[in-house]
Symmetry: C2
Subunit: 376 residues, 2 copies
């Protein structure tokens, strides 16, 4: 049975992208790869909404976190880590392990960070050099108001470095790196980009590049300077994940053909549909509605329900694969990914299956709530 | 035109492996991936010839170098770096950037390290904690006698950590991690493993694991302990390069079917053929013959010849892609990769093309030397 993969990454691969993955291998130091790299980089700059080069590293999103930290800071540097879930904590933890002095601003899970509160905390840290912030928190299904956070922080401290985890937002929801004056922005291939995991993509602002020149944390593999120097020659400093690039080349062309705004609108529409179907089933969003994510929806497991059993039943009986909660949310929430290659029919199929399996375990649907009953 | 890719990595992908790369994406936290990971890990242990777990990191071989260093040492630790070319220097440089005190033993390019000389240098460094050594130096086409080096070093200092770059040797030539008492051994997916670049594979001995527990260099992404803890649950600490794993699963089964010794014999045979054809053309090996590599052959560009023009002509007129020299060997040598998915017919086609293009640029073949003339 082919699965309806509805986790928040890796995401399903469109057939033309899958076909590209299987292309014959080429020399990563030859003219064909150089041409591909130039094309991919141009497309990525369009989606990052930046004039800066976008660097690729063979890595997961966690590698991008490490790259962002070691290229931007020196041991002992003070930073404010705004954490609203598992991935915000991971970025903060990475900074701590590399010897930064990290002040955590921990927002209750399910909520977004308040921009003014971020600015306030920053005002209390006159020596802070950076703010670490998650655009979309995959573990809770919450999207921060990044534009407002950046604006509030910048108003308080014009020179502050804004380090943005955009792993599960970029290419799906609006993020304007240059206009919003963000300094280091990173994402991962297995999310909105519709290709397999294995490539981290990162860009730095002029302020970010200046920080890179000053930063003394040790680095070789992640060194932005080395990556940029190679990129200017149509290469990478060491062997790139060529097959992922083959796929990305095709995926980015599909994205350009669809259009940036159209992609954002599609993610809004599938997210709206997911939330509407959940509401009709009487399920509660884990996230506060005003900041519910357009790329992943977290739903509370109904009172007395067993989240793990439900995801297992969905997988085994329906071929629908959703995610559960992470860390202290294990067993308490269900997470439905709707980013990348996703359309309303995928969500309808997923929510129909969820409805059937809820009924199968004895959950009482609200009267008249059934999408199935309504013939959807 | 489909290319005859004869660079020392990335290497050609066998059709069943290419087909696997295009498989539908799956949940990396689900039972199917756990099963695949267990299978792949078992096969890798067979080829590493170790009882230890083999860890996978989404990375190139250079990432594996960084992983080996940061998991084994602390700032200020003294190590002996035995360098016989570009990649030995890269490992030494990585160690230096991370604050180790590195003594370089630089062997003239084209030669292998003398095991007794390594032991002698080690004797002069009573505080050294490790030896960094390249098994097969891709830049010069030289294979070190790793077994003898390990034995000589261990005889001098039983507790020394042996860090081995086996990127372009493992799975192609014999390397017995446990029997030779090696401590950290790493390789990359795009070499002998017949899959695209993007996965680094690393194992550590008991001594290596003890070093990891003591090492204080900062690490998160590369942390061996985190990777092992996840592996025991059939997972990885963060999103793995799933499509590469799909390919590796198929490639490793092909390798098991062929047999370890048969694979080593095939690499010996194609290397012998490459060297015989080169000799017949009057071309000189860059490497000393006794240590010429079975995975990559470096040939001196004939007197007055233009290495770059020759590789370009081979690519454009013959569809044969070989590599040139790196750094100070640029334009001076040609490098022919014969590792992974390679058979005698590939080498014959490559050397026939080389012969034609040498003739085309006016190179005089030795009398009676032509493979073509001999009807090969």
């Amino acid at each position: 049975m082919e699965e309806n993969l509805r986790i928040p990454g890796p995401t399903p691969i469109p057939p033309p992208v899958a076909a590209a993955l299987a292309r014959p291998m080429i020399n990563h130091r030859g003219p064909a790869f150089a041409e591909l790299l130039r094309r991919v980089t141009d497309h990525l700059r369009f989606f990052f909404q930046t004039d800066q080069p976008v660097l690729g590293f063979p890595a997961s999103g966690t590698g991008a976190m490490e790259a962002a930290v070691v290229n931007s800071f020196s041991p002992g540097d003070e930073v404010l880590a705004v954490t609203i879930g598992v991935f915000g904590n991971r970025l903060a933890k990475t900074a701590e392990l590399f010897g930064l002095r990290v002040t955590r601003m921990e927002v209750p899970w399910g909520q977004a960070a308040d921009p003014q509160a971020v600015a306030q905390r920053l005002a209390e840290l006159p020596n802070a050099r950076g703010v670490l912030v998650t655009h979309n928190e995959t573990s809770t299904g919450v999207t921060n108001d990044l534009r407002a956070i950046a604006q509030a922080a910048r108003a308080k401290r014009s020179d502050i470095l804004l380090i943005v985890d955009a792993v599960s937002s970029l290419g799906c929801v609006d993020l304007r790196m240059d206009e919003w004056d963000l300094d280091v922005v990173f994402t991962g291939s297995q999310k909105g980009w519709m290709v397999p995991p294995g490539l981290a993509m990162i860009a730095a602002s002029e302020r970010g590049w200046a920080a890179t020149a000053r930063a003394t944390l040790p680095r070789y593999y992640w060194d932005f300077r080395r990556a940029r120097a190679s990129l200017e020659k149509g290469q990478t400093p060491y062997t790139p994940p060529v097959s992922i690039y083959f796929g990305l080349d095709v995926a980015l062309q599909m994205m350009r053909d669809e259009g940036r705004e159209a992609i954002f609108a599609r993610h809004q529409a599938v997210a709206d549909l997911t939330r509407a179907r959940a509401r009709a089933l009487g399920l509660r969003l884990f996230a506060e509605l005003a900041h519910a994510s357009n790329t992943v929806t977290a739903l509370r497991v109904p009172e007395g329900g067993d989240g793990k059993a439900l995801t297992k039943a969905l997988r085994e009986r329906e071929g629908v694969v959703i995610a559960g909660g992470q860390e202290r949310l294990e067993g308490q929430i269900l997470r439905i990914g709707h980013l990348g290659y996703v359309h309303e029919a995928d969500i309808t199929a997923c929510m129909d299956a969820l409805e059937r399996q809820l009924v199968a375990v004895g959950y009482s649907l609200p009267v008249g709530s059934s999408g199935l009953a309504r013939g959807e």
